[in-house]
Amino acid sequence: MKLAYYPGCVSLSTGKEMDISTRAVCAALEIELEELSDWNCCGATHVSNEQVATGLAARNMAQTELPIMTPCSICYSNLRSAVRRLEDLEVRERVNAVLEKKYSGAAVRHALDVILESLEKKDERIVLPLREMKVAAYYGCLLTRPAGQYSPQFPTILEELTRRLEAEPVELRHKTACCGGPIFMPREDAADDIAFAILAEAKEAGAEVIVTVCPLCHLMLDAKQRALEQKKGQKIGIPVLYVTQLVGIALGLGPEELGLEMNSVSPMAVVERAYEKMAKE
C-alpha cells in the first residue's frame, strides 16, 4: 500500500515522536509513505475564516493523487471538513482560482484507521502482545468530529485496535471530551481543569497507559502532566502514548525507533512489564 503522508507542523516540534513512530510503524507494516511535497500548515484551530481554512487544506491535497494519511487529528479534521466544503462547486471554483495545482477531490485517512486495517487478528507481526495492559483510549474531539466515519461521541475503533494488540481497553467517560489544548495559551486555568479531569478519570479507572491520536491532546496530557500534578496536588504518573507508539511496541520496535524517550512521562516501566510478562509465559 502506498499513501501520501502529511505530517503536520507539530511533527517538527512538540509531536516529533508522533512522526517518528508513524514512519517506523508504517515501515514495519509495509505501508509505503510518500511525504507531501512542500506541505503547509492546516491552520489548526486558529484560522477562523472557513474559506481560508479550506484553501490551506486544498493546497495540501492538490499535491498528490494518492490517498492522504495524517497521524494528527487536527489536520485530519481540517482536511475532512475541507473535502466536504469543496464538494460545493462554487467553493471549489473560488479556491482553485488561487491555487497553483488545482484541487479535484481527495481521500483522507487517519493513521489509526490505516494501521488497524493492515493489522490482522492474531497478526504474526505482533511479537509483543500487550496482554493485561490496561489501556485507556482517549480520542479527543477532532478524530471523530465533524461526524464522519466514526460515531462522533462514542467511537470504538481505538478500543478495537487495543484489543487487537491483546491489551485491555479501559473505557473513559471522557473519551471524546475536549483536552483543552486549543485554549491552553490564552486560557491556561480553564484548559488545565479540563485536561486534569481526563487524567484523573484514567487514574481512577486504573489505566496503565493512555493512548492518544492527536499531538495537542498528547501535549496536554503528557508534557503538562507534571505541571498539572503540582497544580492540583495529585499524583497521576500515567504514560501517554501515541497510538503509533503503542502499536510499535507491540510490533517489537525499539524505544528509539518510536521516540519513547521523548515522552515526558516515561513509558519504559510499562514496556518493561510487558516484556517480563511475555518472558514468563
Binding site: S151, Q153, R173
Partner: protein
C-alpha cells in the same frame, strides 16, 4: 358535420362589451357551421330549448356555446344537448365572459376580435369531437384494511356495520396495535385496554369481518373498484380454533425464554406465547426463531392444539378499496448515543414506562429501576428524543409524547406521591381539547418542569446524571435521578414499506405516507380507491386515529356502496402499433394507471386524464379521448390563423388552478390586455412540446403555460414535469435561434386572479421587448422563418424529460 354556434348576451355581461351581432355573423361563416344565433341567456330554459330545437331541425351533431366559463355551465349544456339526443361530449364552450368581456371592459373592439378567435378555436375543436360514453364498471363491495391498530379497527367496524365485507390483515399475531400495550390513556386517564378490548372482540366476532392475523399483503393488482390482493398467513404452529388461550400449560412446559417484544425488552416470554392476556384472537403462537422443536408444548396442551407441522397459507382476495392503517414504530433510542440507552440500565423509554405502569405488564404495575428492582424515587422524563432533531433526520414533532409524559408523570405521582419527578422539555405541546388543562393538572400535582434539552446522560455512583442548561435562568446543571425516561418519538412503521411500494403510495419528507391534499383530503391517498388512516400518515393521538379510521370507512363506503363506478371517459389510450415499450409513461403517470405488457396498457378506471403520459410519449403512441392532440392542435391553428395583434400569445391553462385563476380575474373584473388566446387542458403536464412549437411556427409571438403552484398539482407533480419540459424546450428554441423567453411557465392558485393577470402583463412586456416572432432570426441572418419543421417534430427523443 353540422355545427350550431350560440353566442350568449348574458344580459349585458357579455353584450355590454362585445358586439354579439358581429360575433354571430362571424360564426355563421365558419366552416361546418349550420346555424349560429345570439341568445339572451343561453343557460335559461328558453335558451336551452332553442338549442334543442335547432338540433332537431338542422340535424346538428355538435354544438358550440360561446358564453361563460365551462367550469360553470358545461354540465348544464351537456345535459341540454343530451336531452335532444346528442352525445353530451359533443359540446364545446368558448369562454367569452370570464376570460374576455369581463376582463377587457374598456377595449370592446379588441375584445370582440379576441372573442372571434375564441369562437374559431371552439368550432375547430368541435369539428374533431367524438361521442364518448361514460363507462360504468361493476365494483367489489369488499374492503381491505391493512393494520389492526385502533385506526384499522375503527375503519373495519364502521364498514362492517354498514354492511360491507371487510378483510382485516394484521402482521402480528394479535390486533390492537400500540394502544393495546399502553397503560391509562390521556386526556381522561382511562384504562386503554378496557376501552379497546371490547372493540377487538367485536372485530373477531363480526360476521362481516374476515380477520387475518399474523399475515401480510404481498401483491396488489388492479385499480379502484377491483383490486386483487394476494398475501400470506404465516404459520402460528397452533390451531387457532382449538387453542383455548390458557397459555399456562404449554408455556410452562416450554424451556426457551426470550425477551418479549410486547414489553419492549423489560419482560420475558416463552417460545410459545400469547402476546398479552387480552390478545385477539386469544390463541397461542410459536416463535419459529426461538423454538428448538422439543415439542414439549404439544405434549402439555390439553386441547391438543399445537401443530408443529403447520405451514403458511397463501390468500387471494378481491376488494374495491384499500385502507392503509399501518401505524408507527418507536424511534430507536440507542441512536441518541449521548443518552446512553442500552449502556445504562436505568435509562428507559416511555414505552417501557407504559408497560411498567400497566397492571398486567411485566412489573405488575410497579415502577422500578431495572438495575436494582427497587421502586424509583426520583424520575426524569426527557422530551423530544428522536423528534425535532436534525441529527437523527427527524425534524417533525411527534405530537403525542408531551402528553404521554404528562400522563405517565401523573400516574406515577398518584401511585407514589413522594416520587420526585422532573420533565425536561423544550416546549410542552398540549394542543387538543382538555390538553392544556391536563398540563395544569400535572403542574398542580407537584411535577417539576425544566425548560431545557438534556445534552447528555452519564452514570455516576450508580445514579443517572443529566447534564443540561436550564434555559430559563441560564444555569448549567447536573441533576441526579434514579430513572431517566426517554420520550421517544414516532416513526412510520418500517413493516409498511413493502405495502407502500405495492400500492405506489408516496411519502412526505418525514417518511410518513402522503395524503392527497394536506387540508382538503386528509384520508385519501394519491391513488384512487386507497385511503390512509391513523399514524400511517403521521403521528397522532388515539381520538384522531379513530376519527380518521371512520373517515376512511365513510370514503370507502361512498365509493363502493352502489356496486358500480361511473368513469369519466376522459382517459388516455395507447396506439399499440406505435408503442415502443419504453415505459416512460409508466413512471410518469401519477395514478400508476399504466402498465407495459407489450405494449403499454392504460387502466381506464385508474386514469384521471391529466395527459402527462401523452405529452411524454416519445413516439406519440398515447393520446387522450378528450383534449386529444388533434383537437388541441386545431385550437392552436385557429388561434393563430388571423394575427390581429402583437404580441399574440397562445396560453395553455390547467383546468384546476390556472384556468380557475383566469376565471376569477374575470369575476373580480381585473382588467388586462387582450393578447392571450387560452386553451384549457387538464394539467400543465398535458402540454406536449410539439403544441408549443406548432404555435410558434404558426406565428404566435409567445406561449404561456400556467399550472397550479408548485407542490399543489391536482395530480401530484404534473407541474414539475411541465417545468422540466419547458426547460428542455427553451434549449430547443435557443438551438434554432429563437429567444428562449418566448415560452414561459407560471404558477397560480385558483384564488390568484391578480397573479394570473400580472404574469400575463409581464409576459406581454417581455415579448414586446423581443419584437414579433422571428425578429431575432432576421437580426441574425437576414430573415428566415424559424426552422421548427412540421408539427410533431418536437425535441429529439433523448431530450424529452
Amino acid at each position: 358535420m353540422p355545427t350550431g354556434v350560440y353566442v350568449c348576451h348574458c344580459g349585458l355581461n357579455i353584450a355590454g362589451v362585445l358586439n354579439v351581432e358581429d360575433l354571430k355573423s362571424f360564426a355563421e361563416k365558419l366552416p361546418g357551421v349550420a346555424v349560429a344565433r345570439d341568445l339572451q341567456f343561453s343557460c335559461s330554459d328558453i335558451g336551452q330549448e332553442q338549442i334543442q330545437k335547432d338540433i332537431a331541425e338542422h340535424k346538428l351533431d355538435r354544438v358550440v356555446v360561446a358564453a361563460c366559463s365551462p367550469r360553470l355551465h358545461e354540465p348544464t349544456f351537456r345535459r341540454a344537448i343530451s336531452k335532444a339526443g346528442l352525445n353530451p361530449y359533443m359540446l364545446e364552450m368558448a369562454n367569452i365572459r370570464e376570460q374576455c368581456s369581463w376582463v377587457h371592459m374598456d377595449q370592446p373592439a379588441m375584445a370582440t376580435e379576441k372573442a372571434k378567435d375564441l369562437i374559431r378555436m371552439a368550432v375547430a375543436k368541435a369539428e374533431l369531437l367524438q361521442p364518448l360514453e361514460p363507462e360504468s364498471i361493476p365494483v367489489s363491495k369488499e374492503v381491505l384494511v391493512v393494520g389492526g391498530g385502533v385506526a384499522g379497527i375503527a375503519a373495519a367496524l364502521d364498514l362492517a356495520d354498514a354492511g360491507l365485507h371487510v378483510f382485516l390483515v394484521e402482521r402480528r399475531p394479535t390486533i390492537g396495535g400500540y394502544m393495546a400495550l399502553l397503560t391509562d390513556v390521556f386526556p381522561t386517564n382511562d384504562c386503554s385496554i378496557c376501552v379497546l378490548g371490547p372493540k377487538m372482540s367485536e372485530v373477531y366476532n363480526h360476521p362481516n369481518i374476515t380477520l387475518y392475523t399474523y399475515s401480510e399483503v404481498l401483491g396488489v393488482e388492479g385499480s379502484v373498484g377491483n383490486f386483487t390482493v394476494s398475501g400470506v398467513r404465516r404459520a402460528r404452529y397452533v390451531d387457532e380454533k382449538l387453542c383455548k388461550g390458557c397459555i399456562n400449560e404449554c408455556a410452562s412446559a416450554c424451556p426457551v425464554e426470550v425477551s418479549s417484544e410486547y414489553d419492549f425488552g423489560i419482560g420475558k416470554r416463552k417460545a410459545i406465547y400469547v402476546p398479552y392476556p387480552q390478545a385477539v384472537p386469544l390463541a397461542a403462537c410459536i416463535d419459529p426463531k426461538a423454538c428448538i422443536g422439543c415439542s414439549r408444548c404439544a405434549e402439555a396442551c390439553p386441547a391438543d392444539a399445537v401443530r408443529l407441522e403447520q405451514e403458511a397459507q397463501d390468500f387471494k382476495i378481491n376488494v374495491g378499496a384499500i385502507i392503509v392503517a399501518t401505524g408507527w414504530q418507536p424511534f430507536d433510542a440507542a441512536r441518541k448515543e449521548e443518552y446512553g440507552f442500552g449502556r445504562y440500565r436505568d435509562v428507559i423509554t416511555t414505552l417501557q414506562m407504559e408497560r411498567m405502569l400497566n397492571a398486567s405488564g411485566p412489573t405488575k404495575g410497579e415502577v422500578v429501576r431495572p438495575s436494582t428492582g427497587e421502586i424509583a424515587g426520583s424520575i426524569a422524563f426527557l422530551q423530544c428524543v428522536g423528534s425535532r432533531d436534525a441529527t437523527v433526520g427527524n425534524c417533525y414533532c411527534s405530537r403525542i409524547c408531551c402528553m404521554a409524559s404528562l400522563k405517565n408523570a401523573q400516574l406515577v405521582k398518584e401511585k407514589y406521591p413522594d416520587t420526585d419527578i422532573t420533565i425536561y422539555y423544550m416546549d410542552i405541546r398540549a394542543c387538543g381539547e382538555g390538553y392544556e388543562e391536563f398540563y395544569i393538572r400535572a403542574q398542580k400535582l407537584g411535577i417539576n418542569f425544566v425548560r431545557s434539552r438534556v445534552s447528555s446522560i452519564q452514570e455516576e455512583e450508580g445514579r443517572i446524571s443529566l447534564i443540561y442548561e436550564d434555559t430559563q435562568n441560564g444555569e448549567i446543571r447536573r441533576a441526579k435521578h434514579d430513572l431517566a425516561v426517554l420520550s421517544v418519538g414516532l416513526e412510520p412503521d418500517s413493516n409498511a414499506e413493502v405495502l407502500g411500494n405495492l400500492l405506489g403510495l408516496s411519502r412526505r419528507p418525514d417518511r410518513f405516507f402522503e395524503i392527497a391534499h394536506p387540508k382538503m383530503r386528509p384520508v385519501e391517498a394519491h391513488i384512487d380507491g386507497v385511503f390512509i388512516a391513523g399514524c400511517a400518515s403521521g403521528p397522532k393521538e388515539i381520538p384522531i386515529s379513530i376519527a380518521q379510521g371512520s373517515a376512511a370507512a365513510a370514503k370507502a363506503l361512498k365509493l363502493l356502496h352502489r356496486g358500480f363506478l361511473e368513469l369519466e371517459p376522459t382517459s388516455a389510450y395507447v396506439d399499440p402499433d406505435k408503442c415502443i415499450q419504453c415505459k416512460l409513461c409508466v413512471d410518469i403517470c401519477p395514478k400508476k394507471a399504466i402498465s407495459v405488457k407489450s405494449p403499454a396498457y392504460v387502466d381506464e378506471a385508474a386514469c384521471k386524464g391529466c395527459g402527462s403520459c401523452a405529452a411524454a410519449c416519445p413516439v406519440d403512441a398515447i393520446d387522450m379521448r378528450f383534449f386529444s392532440d388533434q383537437q388541441i392542435l386545431a385550437q392552436v391553428k385557429a388561434a393563430t390563423e388571423v394575427k390581429r395583434e402583437f404580441p399574440l400569445i397562445v396560453a395553455f391553462l390547467c383546468n384546476w388552478c390556472s384556468y380557475g385563476a383566469a376565471d376569477l380575474a374575470g369575476t373580480s373584473r381585473i382588467q388586462y390586455p387582450t393578447n392571450a388566446r387560452n386553451i384549457r387542458v387538464m394539467c400543465s403536464a398535458r402540454v406536449d412540446p410539439s403544441f408549443v412549437l406548432e404555435a410558434l411556427r404558426q406565428g404566435a409571438d409567445g406561449v404561456l403555460i400556467a399550472g397550479c403552484r408548485i407542490g399543489e398539482c391536482h395530480y401530484k407533480d404534473g407541474n414539475y414535469q411541465a417545468l422540466q419540459r419547458v426547460n428542455v424546450l427553451k434549449g430547443v428554441l435557443e438551438k434554432v435561434g429563437l429567444d428562449p423567453g418566448r415560452v414561459k411557465i407560471v404558477w397560480c392558485a385558483a384564488s390568484e386572479g391578480e397573479i394570473y393577470a400580472q404574469d400575463l402583463r409581464e409576459f406581454i412586456a417581455e415579448l414586446k421587448a423581443m419584437g414579433p416572432i422571428g425578429t431575432e432570426l432576421k437580426r441574425r441572418d437576414g430573415g428566415q422563418q424559424p426552422d421548427l419543421a412540421q408539427p410533431g417534430n418536437g425535441p429529439e427523443e433523448g431530450e424529452k424529460p
